[in-house]
């Protein structure tokens, strides 16, 4: 790249500026994160209930899941699922006489990060449910609410204010963890940053630019989480 290029030109969204690459990377980051987050919430709710209410084998399996998945670095899980996992899947498929599938980076990313998020969410939800005064759940039971209804009408709204800070944390971390997906060649914001920086050798410019983009994602998420929190904290006296 010619040295006469000003810093602003380097960040321009149109080639030869690298802004477009960063923006596209940011979009992939958001999409991967959103997918993984939703998968994680679903797993987490089921997992938390299972841990609290399930029988012995269910609890054992869930304990195994949360400890193992939380213990193994995401990077190793991603590598494992992407290489060994697709290999195994295709072997099963071919044994069944089915055509091989190509698991692309996006699906692998969402699946792996979602499974990881699910383990953390299980713990966050479990803690949040335990923090609900028992009496409130008993009152629901006393009115003949079925477990499902009880969960939807009483437990869920009551656990959310307890869980939201943890949930927000997980969202923040999944937007960053999505960077790991670069190992299977999926280009999101972190990798886009490295490519731009490595190409131009303007390391700081691009680190800062990408920090700004991540921050923008966060600030927007914060607005959403703050709105959720003020909604779900209604009924609680404000100053503790």
């Amino acid at each position: 790249m010619s040295s006469s290029q000003s810093l602003l030109e380097l960040l321009s969204p149109y080639p030869p500026g690298w802004g477009g690459v960063l923006l596209a990377g940011a979009l992939s980051t958001v999409l991967i994160s959103l997918g993984a987050y939703l998968v994680g919430i679903a797993i987490g709710l089921v997992g938390a209930i299972g841990k609290l209410k399930g029988n012995r084998p269910v609890r054992f399996v869930l304990d195994l899941y949360t400890t193992a998945v939380r213990a193994i670095p995401e990077l190793i899980l991603i590598i494992g699922l992407y290489y060994a996992g697709t290999d195994g899947l295709n072997r099963i498929l071919s044994a069944l006489g089915l055509p091989a599938v190509e698991i692309n980076g996006f699906v692998a990313a969402v699946a792996v990060l979602g499974i990881v998020q699910g383990a953390y969410m299980t713990e966050v939800f479990r803690g949040a449910i335990l923090a609900i005064p028992v009496g409130q759940i008993e009152a629901a039971a006393a009115f003949g609410m079925r477990p499902r209804l009880r969960f939807r009408r009483i437990v869920l709204p009551a656990l959310l204010p307890n869980a939201l800070p943890g949930l927000a944390n997980l969202w923040m971390s999944v937007t960053k963890d999505s960077a790991l997906i670069a190992v299977v060649g999926y280009q999101e914001l972190a990798l886009a940053t490295r490519i731009a920086a490595g190409n131009t050798k303007h390391y700081f410019l691009f680190f800062l630019a990408s920090a700004a983009l991540y921050l923008a994602i966060t600030l927007i998420s914060n607005v959403v989480f703050a709105a959720l929190e003020s909604r779900f904290r209604r009924g609680q006296p404000t100053t503790a």
């Binding site: 400890t67 670095p73 966050v124 803690g127 800070p165 944390n169 960053k176 920090a211 921050l215």
Partner: protein, 229 residues
């Protein structure tokens, strides 16, 4: 499966494991202390402190740890040699080390995440229990030390356990500032020996054991106060 490499690499592996554990312990301990301050600042601090703490948490949770680490190490760190005399001073051997920067930035980052968890937990403590403390004339600091904080930490325990494990898994990033932690050693072994899975398996076993220890420890603490369910 080929694990013969372990014999020639075990000193490196052991050194790497020590680095990993050190980074974890340093960042969790100091980060937690910092987090208490940040959480309190957000809940009961004066306006300016509240804003500062909010801003701090937003920025540190809002950008990837990797980029914070780089900005600190390659950014701030590269300005340091310009300070006259620093290169000759006794501080230079520390400031030159990636470990120092990794420990600092992990601590700052962990504090931001933990502060957020603690903030929520502080708000979740039933108001009446705090009033009971005040009614006995507890000063704010006694109330905090004896009732509010312990109660909040209890509420937050499962989440804190999760954050600690997350922090464990963040330690491999230190490799990008030349710290040879366990993951870096495994990476090196993979490149040297071209074994794809075996080094990762060894590392995984280590991380799983460490995680088990962490979660067990938290379970023991949690069980101190029985929960009626």
């Amino acid at each position: 499966m080929d694990f013969s490499w372990i014999f020639s690499y075990w000193p490196l592996l052991a050194a790497g494991a020590v680095q990993t554990v050190l980074l974890l312990v340093i960042s969790v301990v100091f980060g937690f202390i910092l987090a208490i301050g940040l959480a309190l600042a957000q809940v009961i601090g004066p306006r300016w402190l509240k804003l500062f703490a909010r801003g701090y948490c937003t920025c540190l949770r809002g950008t990837p740890l990797l980029i914070q680490l780089w900005l600190l190490y390659y950014g701030v760190g590269s300005l340091l040699p310009m300070i006259p005399g620093l290169r000759a001073s006794f501080l230079w051997p520390i400031l030159r080390e990636g470990f120092f920067f990794a420990a600092v930035s992990f601590t700052l980052n962990y504090a931001a995440y933990e502060a957020e968890v603690l903030r929520g937990a502080l708000l979740a403590v039933p108001k009446g229990e705090l009033e009971a403390g005040r009614s006995f004339g507890m000063s704010s600091s006694t109330l905090l030390r004896r009732i509010w904080l312990p109660r909040a930490v209890r509420i937050a325990l499962p989440t804190i356990a999760g954050e600690v494990v997350l922090q464990l898994k963040a330690t491999p990033l230190a490799f990008t500032v030349t710290v040879m932690d366990l993951y870096a050693v495994a990476y090196k072994v993979r490149q040297d020996t071209l074994l794809v899975y075996e080094p990762l398996m060894v590392v995984t076993v280590f991380y799983v054991c460490l995680t088990l220890i962490i979660t067990r420890a938290f379970k023991v603490v949690e069980a101190q106060v029985p929960v009626r369910r």
